[in-house]
Amino acid sequence: MIRIATAAFDSGRELAEFIRLCPASTGGIASFTGLVRGGGTDGITALTLEHYPGMTERRIAEIIETAHARWQLDSSLVIHRVGRMLPGEAIVFVATASAHRAAALAACEFLIDWLKTKAPFWKLEETSAGERWVEPRAADDEAAARWA
């Protein structure tokens, strides 16, 4: 399942609903929630996520397909927020279900690693000093490359 969310969503509610729909064979559910970080020295006051409608959904579907080909998953869910959001709000939610925990955990990590580096989203940060487009991180590319 893929959802591009234009408004705030509740990871807990999504996890509850995801688990509710799992088949009887599911033994483990992994999830990851990415939040807009606030505070700190960079002082982000807001974050805007831009995406490429159409291509974004298509790329996420391909990434999910890759995960299901690689691990035996009962189900998976990706929710990605777009538009302007505030510190503490969720940007992304990934959940995976499998009979055994190793597959669920690995697939969850894989999905977030590839979402970060292979799906068309761009982050614009607002700080007291103005706006800036977020630069890609080498650590994200390295994390994504582990699964190649």
Binding site: P120, K123, W133, P136
Partner: protein
Amino acid sequence: MRLRYFAWLRTRIGTSAEELPLPAGVATVAGVLDWLAGRGAGYAAALDRRDVVRVAVNQEFAPLDHPVSDADEVALFPPVTGG
């Protein structure tokens, strides 16, 4: 050809999408970038550092030598930073 621009390529070029006829002799992604870079200061600024420009043709990532035709949707954007 339908052109789409995202993130700082969009803000530098000053529009998110436009329809332009593909000029004669332009047949690859690299050709499109060269052609657009000559269309004005905004385009030149956006395409200044080609190494950080990514391209999708018909919503699939495409390398510089990928062929393009006038019927294609070609999107230009920086490296992705989602998730």
